[in-house]
Symmetry: C2
Subunit: 327 residues, 2 copies
């Protein structure tokens, strides 16, 4: 077999509502290159699947590889997935995605083996295998971004539950009657500590006259507010932003405690855009609050840590998924 | 082998802070008889273990059996347990119970194989095997009594987590800053819907002038208030009690939703004294609220039901545990 025919590479794909990310990974799970394409979700599933295929071909070419050197492709999809059938059951942010046979169709386009899983499960797999080297028996991943999602590793394996929806930590109610959530309920973790909720809270406070450096940085409407801006304002001593971040960290700590009380995992890993930007400022508060709200005896030897994978968690986990396919 | 030498019976023991219950079960998991002894927890572990042995011998004798006909004994203990070593790690309501080798000591006293598990895990086992016949792949048991506890069956097996403390549903925070809980935190499920919390709330309301039939039934101090009294007052049309029970059911439904969002189990079973007395009045509200607060797509095909085992859940589950011992 010629050197170039060795199928030692995998491609990990992170399918989101607005963008498709793909990365080529070698046998050591090192990322050799990335490609990115807009999702164009409004064009419907068939077109989106073609775009995923294009993004995969782009990144393989970008890395000067031939598809023959690729062993398989893993995809994280933004909704519940049946990994056996490879179907996306539904995807709240992708119009018309109901029971879409993503695995079968993408595999046809690429002529490569494809595996599909839920995106938060995929990120959890990435953290578990790439960062924790698969060592803990149980782990919960919590990803704080615009929304909040999660994934569970129990007894060393992904756990996705009866309807493949396990890990919806963002919609755990922490404050009955609390702020309205996108899901229609009130007081969900996501409505208390997700980026969208936090940004709405900041914008409302500013409208009511709250002073903050954010308006100096971004103008009075705070239109392009991002997690990184919170970090910058905090570094400059903005007390309002400091309080907002503290609250976010406290709610996150309570959510972690609820998970520890219920599941008692060996490791809890926090990731996502908010943690990527604000881990230094949030993690000590998260850990302290989590221990405070966990029952006696539950936290001994348990780690609560931030992930370093950042935006790469999705493609890395999808690469792990691809590597799980039998050779 | 003589008929009477067939080891077809097991004894299930429910060790509580105030009482020890034991039951003899046949191979069909039918209960042939029960015995009961006060725990006398203040006398320390060694004495309590002797009392458990006495209670086991009592119930075997009560059923006209000889210990030779008993295959083994299962015990549910009120704290985290390491089932491999058979040690009770600690027990909040039993003084001096830290790393107590209950399995070894009780086995010595009885000259019989003994298995030990956490009491809520044992109740969950009982519901899972005796009521659900072990059919669902995953199940969560929630037991509402003075406090609130729970247990998890995942992939057909008890799941107890890294420190053997998984299933502490009672200390899931549902209302940040809510009423004070026995654990020291605020807003726990137990502080919102456990019997002790509910009774305190009723007593406080009565002190502030709230009218209720409960005072006619029990006197102004409501000293001997029990779950059954709530049922009686409700049947007589007591609007205040109706509201209290509705709230309790709603909080329970939200807790169930949090569990469905996080774990997506096939079945959620509610048990314990409160449910035994008030299932007819609470369950429809619990189910409706749980579905309302669960994410889209998570509850399809999932059952949320009340257990019929009542007070027998503990001894039944302990009998199941005993039957799991290799012959």
């Amino acid at each position: 077999m010629a050197e170039t025919d060795k199928k030692e590479y995998v491609v990990g794909v992170d399918l989101g509502g607005t963008k498709i990310l793909a990365g080529v990974f070698d046998s050591q799970l090192r990322c050799l290159g990335r490609a990115r394409l807009s999702t164009k979700a409004q064009r419907g599933p068939a077109e989106v699947i073609k775009r995923i295929a294009r993004c995969v071909n782009d990144v393989v070419d970008e890395c000067d590889l031939s598809p023959k050197q690729v062993r398989g492709v893993g995809v994280g999809a933004p909704g519940p997935v049946n990994p056996e059938s490879g179907k996306v059951i539904f995807a709240p942010n992708l119009p018309e995605w109901t029971d879409v046979p993503l695995q079968k169709e993408l595999s046809k386009h690429l002529d490569l083996p494809v595996s599909v899983e839920n995106d938060c499960n995929v990120c959890t797999l990435g953290v578990y295998h790439a960062e924790l080297k698969g060592k803990p028996r149980s782990m919960v991943g919590i990803f704080l971004g615009t929304g909040i999602g999660g994934g569970l590793i129990l007894d060393g394996k992904l756990y996705s539950g009866f309807n493949r929806t396990a890990g919806e930590v963002g919609h755990m109610v922490l404050e009955v009657g609390g702020p309205k959530c996108g899901c229609g309920n009130r007081g969900c973790f996501e409505a208390l500590a997700g980026r969208a909720a936090i940004f709405r809270r900041i914008q409302a406070a500013v409208k009511e006259g709250q002073k903050t450096m954010l308006t100096e940085m971004l103008g009075p409407d705070l239109e392009d507010l991002r997690s990184g801006d919170l970090r910058k304002a905090l570094r400059r001593g903005d007390k309002f932003v400091e309080k907002i971040i503290e609250e976010m960290a406290e709610y996150t700590g309570i959510a972690v405690a609820n998970i520890i009380n219920l599941l008692n995992p060996e490791v809890v890993v926090l990731g996502g855009g908010i943690i990527q930007q604000l881990a230094d400022d949030m993690m000590s508060i998260v850990v302290e609050t989590a221990i405070d709200y966990s029952m006696n005896g539950t936290t001994k030897g348990i780690d609560i840590v931030a992930s370093d994978l950042g935006d790469d968690a999705g493609i890395t986990g999808a690469a792990v998924l691809a590597r799980m396919q039998p050779k």
